[in-house]
Amino acid sequence: MRYIKFEKIAQIVESLCVSAGYELPDDVLAALKEAQRKETNPGAAKILNQLIENARIAKEDKIPLCQDTGLAVVFVEQGSVVAVKPPELDTICLMPDTRGSGDENRASRIEHRETLFDAINAGVAAGCEKGFLRKSVVADPLNKRENTGSNTPAIIHHSIVPGDKLKITIIAKGGGCENKSQFRMFKPTAEREEIIDWIVDVVRTAGADACPPFVVGVGIGGDFEISCLLSKKALCRNLAARNEDGFYAELEADLLSAINALGLGPQGLGGDTTALACLVETAPCHIASLPVAVNIECHSHRHKSAVL
């Protein structure tokens, strides 16, 4: 078994959160520049230039790319022979209370604050504080809606993979675009074109509200929740990388063309660039089902990874 220190994991997560806030990833910046070069609508090209300029200012002046520094969505792949070395007691005391209850006794807090998830949340909270990021999480969704004050808990998707590494990918996901994401259960006999039409319609509906040009994540297959998860996981991929399956690589290309044919453009004010990329991920599914989910991501597509 390989042990990785709790503090090391927290520290890496902290640095990923901070760099996500300030530095637009290279693949996204390259896609924006390519779109700006090809854009035939002068107003749209001007907006794309402003987005490129925004990325420069953010990095140089240490001002976040967007005031919505996002909910930390964390995909963590834990090698089967990797374990977390629990933290020292002092570290535990510094960690945020992500469970929203201040009256738990200390013993139970310690018991619950030594896991991989705790290390991730500690890193997210530290990144938020030290990086001057926005605290955008409320503890209760409907009743009190009180801010947790730490931008935690993070949304954590965990999987066990072969090997002795720990891979952590963080997407700082804004609320405005997430609000426009959709799910639909198709009939298993549905045609490819029917699915394309619906996905394009989801993008049309997102429109100016969700900060186009988008990155469109699509999950096909699995079940109700897996399709949604795949649509988010698709956003972890480098924008220049196509699906390895030729059928789905072609579907991605056709979807991107159809989405850009909408003419919605940057900020919804018209133009050739409605999406920078469309990324499809798939999974096996039930004979009766064809679940499809679309995760809308804004142009400020902040995804960062590290391998420990």
């Binding site: 001002i63 926005r134 605290k135 509200d209 900020q267 004010l269």
Partner: protein, 177 residues
């Protein structure tokens, strides 16, 4: 590119009536930030006859929840949030003197109707460019609902803040239907 119309807050009825959807504008003066919960509270205050934290007549509300300022800075990133989430509340504020809103994206039928009826406009500015837009803000001060953190009402002073008229007082929109 058409000429940029310079506007100074508070806005007058004449200012608002002179604007057409698609006009590029620059805003100078005081604007107030308010998002979802702050809107709910402002409307409750109006309903119960309480005093509002700022003068609504001629005011511009910016749908924005900025990031914290680093030491020595005025503000952090400060771009717009999605305007349509404020649709349920904006008509009441417009009826009580609000002259303009600044956000991103679409507005619903009730808001568009209120813009026409009372003479007000909706501006859009660049979503996802909070670093760039922060450069047009020269001061920021929390004036109400401090408990809301990023969502508190802030009095911002802006100079030549860039925006476009998304919905005008004649019922026109910059967005194609």
């Amino acid at each position: 590119m058409s000429e940029i119309k310079k506007l100074t807050s508070p806005l007058t009825q004449a200012d608002v009536r002179s604007l057409k959807a698609g006009d590029q504008v620059s805003l100078t003066g005081v604007i107030y930030t308010a998002r979802d919960i702050a809107h709910k509270r402002l409307c409750k205050a109006i309903d119960s006859g309480c005093e509002l934290p700022f003068e609504l007549e001629g005011a511009i509300i910016y749908f924005c929840g900025p990031t914290p300022a680093r030491p020595g800075r005025v503000i952090g990133a400060a771009g717009p949030t999605t305007s349509s989430r404020m649709d349920a509340f904006s008509p009441k504020l417009i009826a009580n003197g609000l002259k303009a809103m600044l956000g991103k994206g679409y507005r619903g039928a009730e808001v568009r109707e209120a813009l026409k009826k009372y003479g007000a406009v909706h501006f859009s500015t660049i979503g996802g460019a909070g670093a760039l837009l922060s450069r047009y803000i020269t001061s920021a001060e929390v004036i109400a609902y401090e408990d809301l953190g990023a969502e508190a009402v802030r009095k911002l002073k802006v100079v030549d803040f860039p925006a476009v008229v998304a919905y005008d007082a004649q019922g026109r929109s910059v967005y194609s239907s």
